[in-house]
């Protein structure tokens, strides 16, 4: 595939850009933040996403979606990042949908319509410690009756308390540390024994701690194969990772553009500060980092869409690079803004907070650099 967007993709970009800028700009985010919204996003906006077709962007056309790929999802995510638009898009329409695409028809029929309509939100319940370690999942699913009984604890379940269903990874066999023996379950939010506690994060997103206290699910709650959940999990995680990377390209680019504008207007010592060569060189370097991030993310998306064997390697590299570049963008952004960059009133600090959250999402840059090394054979 050529590493440029085609006409359809460019059109999608235009429409996503216009939509986010008019319907969900940073002022929208501020509004929901300042009202202390318990969801951390607007259900009305989620409906609008549906009207735009975004919610079903990865759902096959035959099932009512747009049948597009990671590149297209990434186009929407970049605009989300640029505007800090709060929504369940990444978890529900990207990560969860990729998992559900591997589920049986009954389950897809159960959840896709609500997602398409912008009425359903799905939480991803994977993490059990403070760092991303999917192979260390300890949550247990014992055979019980017609199905399974789930016991354990999950955390960092973004929008968990706003979710209608949680995708829970649990161990049906094998030992902690093994990738075999995991199974993914669709667990209804109202299931007996399931309790959640929401925590507001630095970027004002809401994330839940989830307790599974012998939650009984039927056999039809299994997504994919029993004991073979790693395949589904990997697909879901990689979609979430490359999606987070795309969103970080948007966050970093937004922060960078804002900062470059500031450099061109702010005066100090009788000069526009953008005239200072030391800042110019840092700006040019940052631009190169962000362009690099944009490139590797596009590469990873296209390899995923092709089902290429190297997709996993590139997704890891993309998540790492987007994380490093976006983090540089927000750090340089705050520093170059000087004092006002430290104030809540200016937007640059909001980008710094969002970067932090996205960097942690499904493995940080160091985690993924380590995976790159492992996949590269050392």
């Amino acid at each position: 595939m050529a590493m440029t967007l085609n006409d359809d993709q460019n059109m999608l970009r235009e429409s996503a850009r216009d939509f986010m800028a008019s319907e969900a700009p940073v002022t929208h985010f501020r509004k929901f933040r300042d009202m202390g919204c318990k969801d951390g996003f607007s259900h009305g906006l989620w409906k609008q996403f549906a009207e735009m077709g975004f919610t079903g962007i990865l759902i096959p056309e035959a099932e009512g979606g747009m049948g597009m790929g990671q590149i297209e999802a990434g186009i929407v995510l970049e605009e989300i990042g640029r505007n800090l638009s709060p929504s369940p898009f990444l978890t529900t329409s990207v990560a969860a949908v990729e998992a559900l695409k591997l589920a049986d028809k009954a389950m897809r029929d159960r959840w896709f319509p609500g997602i398409l309509a912008g009425e359903t939100v799905i939480g991803i319940a994977i993490e059990e410690g403070v760092k991303h370690r999917p192979e260390k999942i300890a949550c247990v699913a014992e055979r019980s009756g017609n199905g399974f009984k789930l016991t354990g604890h999950k955390q960092f379940v973004v929008q968990g308390t706003s979710s209608d269903m949680l995708i829970v990874a649990a161990r049906t066999a094998g030992a902690v540390g093994e990738t075999d023996g995991l199974t993914l379950f669709a667990v209804d939010k109202d299931a007996a024994g399931l309790s959640m506690e929401a925590a507001r994060l630095v970027d004002s997103a809401m994330a839940a701690h989830v307790k599974l206290d012998g939650v009984q699910v039927n056999a039809d709650a299994v997504i994919g194969d029993v004991d073979g959940g790693w395949a589904v999990l990997s697909k879901m995680l990689d979609a979430g990772r490359v999606g987070a990377a795309a969103e970080m390209v948007g966050v970093g680019t937004g922060a960078m553009d804002m900062t470059f504008d500031y450099l061109k207007t702010r005066k100090q010592f009788d000069r526009v500060i953008g005239e200072f060569q030391a800042l110019q060189h840092r700006a040019a370097h940052l631009y190169g980092e962000m362009e690099g991030a944009r490139s590797i993310v596009l590469k990873a998306q296209s390899l995923m869409d092709e089902g290429h064997a190297k997709a996993e390697l590139y997704v890891a590299a993309a998540k790492a690079k987007a994380g490093l570049a976006c983090n540089l963008a927000v750090r340089e952004g705050v520093q170059m803004h000087g004092g006002i960059g430290m104030t809540d009133e200016y937007d640059i600090g909001l980008y710094m907070k969002r970067d932090r959250g996205l960097n942690e999402f499904f493995g940080d840059a160091y985690y993924h650099a380590d995976r790159v090394a492992t996949m590269n054979g050392y």
Binding site: Q155, L201, A207, F269, D270, G339, G341, M352, K353, D364
Partner: protein, 386 residues
């Protein structure tokens, strides 16, 4: 040495007798800090008692002359006192911009009358001070400030606006740079002191990205300042300010974290052992941290013996603040998803995240990293050019 050891024993005995047990536990937060001032409400009897005893002994400002409320200790004795306080875990009896910043400037530039009057108040914690330097539009470029004091014979009438005034909403008095000559950029600024309750002074807290509001915008609308409230000469306030900024930089340059060389890695071993690349970042950070501690030690030893370059504190400020930012990035990485929490009890009210965001100001306040590098390049390395 033996004389110093005698002093050490005495100081130790005094502290053991006079420092209340409650004041020997680590301060848990802002509410445990005694800032003094007209409106300060003591959080406990012990806090009040500890301040009063220290004031009586001169230990709020141990190295100031006794005439101005100090204990007249030598630098060596002061260091010993600090060591003994640290050993017993004694809290600071009084936090004060008056002690840290204005005091040294008054000692150098103040009249005898000013010293007796203001230094005494500072030492006793009676007046809480804030600092009025920056203005909107004059960040690094301090001398471009616009706040103007019009000469009215025996007083000035000050109009203008300051920004980044620490705790201005809680302060009693301000020390403030005011333009008193519009024709001379550098030598047209005076260093004035005035009461924050003077008619025409208003403040507005600035909410930071950390969610806290330690700074204010401060507005002056026809504020009357008597002429005897100037420190140093008319239009030479820049000299006072520069002297004071040097002090501030020394202070901030010591901010590379916990002031010690203890690695934060050990406590995080469980996470780091599973994250080899992150562990490597931590290892390289520890090398930098040990380096900075040794560097600071060497700088202080050279500074005390007059061997350090006068602009060297700019270098330390740059290195120390950048290091502290890096440390907090690592704390956030190691803290992972729990460190992202902003309000939960589990995260101690988001303390890691809030501290991390707070440190981003380190390389801006008291002179940006960019200004520090300019100064090092020009004054120490003697690079050519404007």
């Amino acid at each position: 040495m033996s004389e110093l050891e005698t002093f050490r024993a005495e100081a130790r005995a005094w502290l053991e007798e006079n420092c209340p047990a409650e004041m020997r536990t680590p301060a848990k937060g802002d509410e445990d800090v005694c800032w003094g001032g007209r409106n300060f409400v003591f959080q406990s009897d012990a806090q009040k008692l500890w301040l009063e005893r220290c004031v009586a002994k001169g230990y709020t400002v141990p190295d100031w002359p006794k005439a101005y409320g100090g204990a007249g200790l030598s630098p060596q004795e002061t260091k010993v006192l600090r060591q003994e306080m640290a050993k017993l875990g004694c809290r600071s009896p009084l936090n004060s911009f008056g002690i840290w910043m204005l005091g040294p400037a008054l000692l150098k530039f103040g009249t005898e009358e000013q010293k007796v009057h203001y230094l005494g108040q500072i030492a006793r914690g009676e007046i809480r001070w804030c600092q009025g330097y920056s203005e909107p539009g004059s960040g690094s470029d301090l001398v471009s400030m616009q706040t103007f004091g019009e000469d009215k014979g025996d007083h000035w009438v000050v109009n203008g606006q300051k920004i980044w005034t620490s705790y201005a909403d809680k302060a009693d008095w301000i020390f403030c740079l005011v333009r008193t000559d519009k024709t001379n950029k550098y030598q047209g600024i005076s260093f004035l002191l005035f009461d924050m309750e003077t008619p025409g002074v208003t403040t507005k807290p600035i909410k930071l990205i950390s969610g806290n509001s330690p700074f204010c915008e401060t507005f002056f609308d026809n504020v009357v300042v008597p002429k005897h409230q100037i420190v140093g000469e008319l239009n030479r306030g820049w000299d006072v300010a520069k002297y004071l900024l040097g002090h501030e930089r020394e202070m901030i340059s010591g901010m590379g974290g916990d002031g010690g060389v203890t690695s934060i890695g050990a406590a995080m071993k469980a996470v780091l052992s599973e994250e080899p690349v992150l562990r490597a970042q931590m290892a390289l950070f520890d090398v930098e941290n040990l380096t900075f501690r040794a560097h600071g030690e060497r700088f202080m030893d050279e500074w005390k013996t007059g061997k350090a370059h006068p602009a060297y504190s700019n270098l330390m400020k740059y290195v120390g603040t950048e290091l502290n930012k890096k440390r907090n990035e690592l704390v956030m990485s190691i803290g992972g998803t729990q460190a992202l929490e902003w309000e939960s009890e589990r995260s101690n009210g988001g303390s890691k995240a809030r501290n991390w965001l707070r440190t981003k100001a380190n390389s801006i306040e008291g002179g940006t990293s960019e200004v520090m590098l300019n100064v090092v390049s020009k004054r120490i390395l003697e690079m050519p050019g404007a």
